[in-house]
């Protein structure tokens, strides 16, 4: 049953991907993968987390069908590795899932084969398997084949009817490339159907807890000194950030005319520095609360100062968000500006989890685990958005100014909305020509695509 399922999956793999570009096929492949994994790991699919990862994987597949973007393809790959890695060990962290998923995809079949052979050779009760006689197999295939071909050649000379039948046999329909892709598909499904794990890394991850433990080097005089240093350092940093935020508010609420012209320079030079400051802030807190200071009874002031600093840093994030959104309003949306917003979300999550880490005495692994999980969720969520469409829509309808060339160089996902602008907006002749060229090229691509390459835009085109 398993072999048959893998064989069918391999044939479907080749049908979906041989000589095709990405479209509906990746979504169908996602469904096929989930089916194969379900057939072979039914018990794991009762787990809620497995169901969520499967859903995330299917959603990313579906987003590729709706808007074929690089981000959704990357998200689909990451979700694929996450799901497979999770099936190999359901209790491991998400980054170990990625490692296990990648390893299973690359060498699952080889790993299982060698590990099985090794356990069998150790087990004395099991009889040793008879070695395969390759020479014998070569003989029983090659010798009859050579003799058969010789006789066919001889009989062809003796009978014209027989000769005609032989000449009519045509093997040109056999496509070697197609078969190779099917072989590759078979190997891929053979690798993933029973996920394996990178044992040392997984074992280490399972052993590593989230809670911080008091170490044997607990020394009160040393901790007192560390506490004093921490209090002075974080107090000064708090004072500094308060001063910065006051000046920042003063700048933001200052004259609007000056602001618009300054935003470009401010955003470009300022945001990078502020981003770095937030990362360094988290690193300082991690260093201060790295060990026994968490268990020092008189650390309450230090903790309060740390919480204040985290909250002030979150306010700093809001200030950057405001500047970035003003910049977007004046100069339009771009991927870089969206990237800054995504980074700010991640930074806020990072600061919040650092607060939780200090509050409930967790170790750095906890922080790493929670934040990678958050990054994964944001990746999946952001892959569901058709960014090219929204960038174009915002820049045409809401932004004060925009870079038309930038919009034109985006992927085909904004082609329809660009074409719609021809009717509503007054554009230069050159711009109109470029939009028309992009539109007609895309329409041609959609009309000539195979069913494997279908996208949602194909249906939009048919409904028009």
């Amino acid at each position: 049953m398993k072999k048959l399922a893998l064989f069918i999956a391999a044939l479907l793999f080749s049908t979906l991907f041989y000589d095709q570009s990405i479209g509906l096929n990746l979504f169908l492949f996602s469904i096929l993968t989930v089916v194969i994994l379900f057939i072979n790991n039914k018990s794991h699919f009762k787990n809620r987390k497995t169901q969520i990862y499967s859903a995330a994987y299917l959603i990313t597949g579906l987003t590729i069908f709706f808007h074929n973007s690089t981000l959704s393809i990357i998200a689909n790959f990451v979700a694929f590795f996450t799901l497979i890695g999770h099936l190999s060990e359901t209790k491991s962290s998400i980054y170990i899932n990625w490692l296990n998923g990648l390893y299973t995809t690359i060498a699952g079949f080889f790993h299982r084969n060698f590990a099985l052979a090794n356990t069998k050779s150790k087990d004395e009760d099991i009889e040793e398997k008879e070695p395969i006689d390759y020479l014998h197999w070569a003989k029983i295939i090659l010798i009859p084949a050579v003799i058969l071909i010789t006789f066919i050649a001889l009989y062809k000379e003796g009978n014209p009817v027989f000769s005609n039948i032989i000449d009519q046999i045509d093997f040109s329909f056999v496509n070697i490339q197609w078969l190779l892709v099917a072989g590759l598909g078979y190997y891929l499904f053979n690798n993933i159907y029973a996920p394996i794990e990178v044992e040392p890394a997984t074992e280490l991850d399972l052993k590593t807890e989230n809670d911080l433990q008091k170490t044997s080097t607990f020394s009160l005089p040393k901790l007192k000194q560390e506490n004093q240093l921490g209090v002075i350092l974080i107090s000064l940093l708090n004072a500094l950030i308060v001063l910065y935020l006051i000046t920042d508010v003063a700048f933001i609420t200052s004259d609007f005319e000056i602001k618009a012209s300054l935003f470009s320079a401010q955003v470009h030079s300022g945001i990078n520095a502020l981003i770095a400051s937030i990362v360094i802030a988290i690193m300082i807190l991690l260093y201060v609360f790295r060990g026994n200071l968490n268990f020092y009874e008189q650390n309450k002031t230090l903790k309060r100062l740390a919480y204040t600093w985290i909250i002030l840093n979150i306010l700093l994030v809001f200030s950057i968000t405001f500047k970035n959104s003003q910049y977007i309003y004046y100069f339009g949306l771009t991927y870089k500006r969206i990237g800054v917003l995504v980074y700010l979300i991640l930074a806020t999550i990072g600061l919040a989890t650092t607060l939780l880490k200090i509050g409930s005495i967790k170790n750095n692994w906890y922080l790493f685990r929670v934040n990678t999980q958050a990054a994964f969720i944001i990746l999946i969520a952001s892959s569901t958005v058709n960014w090219d469409y929204h960038i174009t829509n915002y820049n045409f309808n809401y932004a004060k100014s925009m870079d038309f060339k930038y919009l034109l160089n985006l992927s085909d996902n904004n082609t329809f909305i660009l074409n719609e602008q021809l009717n509503t907006k007054a554009l230069d002749e050159e711009d109109v020509a470029q939009i028309k060229s992009k539109y007609h090229k895309y329409i041609y691509e959609l009309r000539t695509s195979n069913w494997q390459e279908l996208q949602y835009d194909n249906f939009k085109l048919n409904s028009k």
């Binding site: 990648l102 390893y103 690359i106 060498a107 790993h111 060698f114 590990a115 090794n118 990178v198 040392p200």
Partner: protein
């Protein structure tokens, strides 16, 4: 011209094989327990294959999934697995491990 191409292919394949053979052997040489094949397999093989796959993926992307690059990547991958298979299942060679001998302080004691 054909001769030159054949020589280039011969050297290319030979060089790749040499690199693979040496890199896989070095996994055993630098392992803590080079004679424990299961240990090397569990601790070195996964990372070796992941790094190799990353390099091959980079080559494939660099050459824009060209026909020759695809076959080369596939060939290198299969070669690597075959060499690992040989080293783990069939190779009888044992490695000498350098263990520090502790000098006896009182060699003449009964």
């Amino acid at each position: 011209m054909l001769g030159l191409i054949l020589i280039a292919i011969f050297f290319g394949v030979g060089f790749t094989f040499l690199i693979l053979r040496i890199s896989i052997s070095s996994m055993f040489w630098f392992s803590k327990k080079p004679n424990d094949k299961m240990y090397v397999f569990k601790n070195q093989f996964p990372y070796y294959m992941m790094v190799l796959s990353a390099i091959l993926a980079t080559i494939l992307i660099g050459f824009d999934f060209a026909f020759v690059a695809s076959y080369y990547a596939l060939g290198v991958y299969c070669f690597a697995l075959l060499i690992w298979n040989f080293k783990l299942k069939h190779c009888k060679k044992t490695y000498t491990t350098t263990t520090r001998l502790i000098e006896q302080h009182h060699p003449n004691l009964p």
